[in-house]
């Protein structure tokens, strides 16, 4: 099986230094970049699928040139290669521009499945992967807790989390699947994997290499991508108000449960 994992380099949330710069764009220098946490879960699922069915995993990302270094961790975990779209003109891309770039990049790669994380820790929009599926006319299966491909039949079955449990969805491949953390905890890169990652390729493409343009000003319908072609802009930012102190209920589970129920009832929430 050939699987693409969309893996976005994001500021390390552990550094607690995510912030917007004076231009209202993400300040990528504020914290070291890591692969988006949710994308590591789908990468783990992809690695398990190729371990079971054979095949290879390609990481695809749009990021500044330093993203190649960030992707190396994914290669050390076991991905086969990387494809990084990087171009100064892409700075400030919105979700729409990003989706167009990723869709164009995916035309360069053979795949049976594209896996994407639930959302990213910097943008937290969670819409890019749906837009990519739409642009490529791929079946879109979201909130996957389990992915079961049948390569011989060319189909894939997904357990999708629903408010009441799971939905079981099945579609033909190729398809785009959005994973959740229920797919399983990401592995640590093995040290042999780290050494082997040295010899793996991260191909780089600029906007022009993908047949895209950054000219066009963002009016509907044209093919332009990048910061200047984005249709949305961040116009301001403010810190959310501090929350009131939480009430922590302690005690034995049965007693604590009673107390919580009483509290909820008091507020007419149940």
């Amino acid at each position: 099986m050939k699987i693409v994992v969309l893996a976005k380099p994001v500021p390390d949330p552990a550094a607690a230094a995510e912030r917007l710069g004076s231009d209202n764009r993400l300040d990528r220098s504020a914290a070291p970049n890591v692969i988006n946490g949710n994308d590591e879960y789908t990468l783990e699922a992809a690695l398990q699928l190729v371990e079971a069915h054979g095949g290879e995993v390609t990481l695809v990302a749009m990021a500044p040139a330093s993203g190649a270094e960030t992707l190396r961790k994914g290669l050390a975990m076991g991905a086969t290669r990387g494809l990084l779209v990087t171009d100064p003109a892409l700075g400030g891309s919105d979700a729409w521009s990003t989706a167009r770039v990723l869709a164009a990049a995916l035309k360069e790669v053979e795949f049976d499945l594209v896996l994407a994380g639930f959302d990213t820790s910097d943008g937290v929009g969670g819409v890019v992967s749906a837009a990519v599926a739409t642009l490529l006319k791929l079946p879109y299966l979201s909130s996957a807790a389990k992915i079961e491909p049948n390569p011989d039949a060319g189909t894939v079955r997904v357990r999708r989390i629903s408010p009441t449990g799971f939905d079981v969805l099945e579609t033909t491949m190729p398809a785009l699947i959005v994973g959740t953390q229920l797919l399983g905890t990401p592995r640590y890169p093995s040290l042999k994997g780290i050494m082997a990652a040295r010899s793996k390729e991260v191909a780089q493409r600029a906007v022009a290499d993908l047949g895209l343009s950054t000219e066009g000003g963002g009016s509907a319908g044209d093919g332009a991508v990048g910061g200047s072609a984005s249709r949305t802009t961040v116009t301001g930012k403010r810190t959310p108000p501090a929350r009131a102190a939480a009430k922590v209920v302690r005690g034995a589970p049965a007693d604590a449960a009673k107390e919580i129920v009483a509290l909820l009832a008091e507020r007419r929430l149940i």
Binding site: R72, Y188, P189, L191
Partner: protein, 412 residues
């Protein structure tokens, strides 16, 4: 040497300057995370129980950590000395006992890597690289510590075997190892540098026994064994190097293993500093964080400076030892001397930052302080390191009495 041909350090040829490569940074960050998540939660219990942490050994094997010192051809990672030391540092930051599993796997294997035949390496190394077998290094004897050349353990050739009689003391992992690298006298009449030979003893084997384990101040989960050899037969095929090469092999081993002890010391110091900084941010006295007091700030700043200085010296020593040359032993000893003293000072200060709480086992710093002490003792005491450094400055004493020639001994 095959084991060192892996990762190229981004050293600037000729100048000895270095920067960590992307691989080394990724390896460091990966091991820091692994250690924080999987080893830190075990460290206090390992210390308290004094039991060898078999689970950590398996964890390190599973993640190829124990494969680091070995050539790729035999299932290893083929990491250079600096990369190995970065790994030791990250594990020691969490738990020194755990870092010793990697250190000693490297130490015990060095004679085999330096002088083992292709047949010996192909036969013995794959199981060491996979972590299936552990190896120990046995040079020190009750009466031959710093004066290692005074070893009395005898090996006598008998047909295709050697018969070894005697014993060793202070042998790290001696009771859990599957192979013990034993140094024994093959020619008592020869000059010091030609008396010893080196053997890979595969255990269990008749005549080999573990007499006792030491009760120690620190590294309590790392078994330190006294070994006894009673007419123990070892095939001549397991002699490493030629007869009489033992001394040269032991000294060549220390040039490469001492930076590892320095790295361990740096790791302990960093662990203690991290704990002290976290405590200084959290602990309130007189209505403010103790980190707001200048006396605490000055201690933390000094601890950081000492730790970083020791780290940079250790990394530099790795590059110099890897490059070889006449200064290798000096660099190895300087790094161990400075880093060992830094670890002792920084961990002692960390206990001070914690105040009375630091003296209890509710916090990790008292364990780190106990663990730090060993880095001033083993693989050559700090006094022996000074002797090596002084010799590099002044040359060998002209009128050295026979029997002490080249003495750079150790307790391992």
């Amino acid at each position: 040497m095959a084991a060192v041909t892996g990762t190229a350090t981004a050293s600037t040829a000729g100048t000895g300057a270095y920067r960590l490569t992307e691989d080394q940074i990724l390896l460091r960050d990966t091991l820091r995370e692994l250690a924080d998540e999987q080893i830190v939660p075990r460290a206090a219990e390992i210390d308290r129980s004094g039991e060898f942490p078999e689970d950590i050994r398996q964890l390190l094997a599973r993640h190829d950590v124990l494969a680091l010192p070995f050539p790729e051809a035999y299932g290893g990672v083929g990491a250079d000395l600096l990369t190995q030391c970065i790994a030791i540092e990250q594990i020691a930051r969490a738990c020194v006992t755990s870092s010793l599993i990697l250190s000693v796997q490297g130490l015990g294997s060095l004679p085999l890597l330096l002088s083992g035949t292709e047949e010996q390496q192909a036969r013995l190394i794959p199981d060491l690289a996979s972590g299936k077998r552990l190896i120990a290094f046995a040079l020190t004897e009750p009466e031959a510590g710093s004066d290692a050349a005074a070893a009395r353990t005898r090996a006598v050739r008998d047909g295709d075997d050697y018969v070894i009689d005697g014993g060793k003391r202070f042998i790290t992992n001696g009771s859990v190892a599957d192979i013990v690298t034993v140094f024994a006298v093959t020619d008592p009449e020869a000059k010091t540098s030609r008396r010893l030979s080196c053997f890979a003893v595969e255990v269990p084997t008749p005549g080999f026994s573990v007499v006792r384990l030491e009760h120690k101040l620190g590294i309590r989960g790392s078994p330190t064994a006294e070994l006894s050899f009673d007419r123990m037969r070892v095939p001549a095929a397991n002699r490493i190097g030629e007869e009489g090469d033992g001394w040269k092999l032991a000294m060549g081993t220390f040039d490469r293993s001492r930076p590892g002890i320095a790295a361990q010391a740096v790791g302990i110091a960093q662990g203690a500093l991290d704990a002290a900084v976290a405590y200084a941010k959290d602990r309130k006295q007189f209505g403010q964080r103790i980190g707001d007091f200048q006396m605490i700030q000055a201690m933390l700043a000094d601890m950081d400076a000492r730790t970083e200085a020791a780290r940079q010296l250790t990394y530099k020593a790795c590059v110099e030892v890897e490059a070889g040359g006449p200064q290798a032993a000096r660099w190895a000893s300087i790094a161990k001397l400075v880093a060992g003293d830094a670890a002792m000072a920084v961990t002692t200060d960390a206990v001070q930052v914690f105040g009375g709480y630091g003296y209890t086992d509710d916090f990790p710093v008292e364990r780190m302080m106990r663990d730090a002490k060993i880095t001033q003792l083993y693989e050559g005491t700090q006094q022996i390191q000074r002797l090596v450094i002084a010799r590099a400055l002044l040359g060998k004493p002209a009128a050295r009495i026979e029997g002490n020639e080249g003495n750079e001994g150790t307790e391992s």
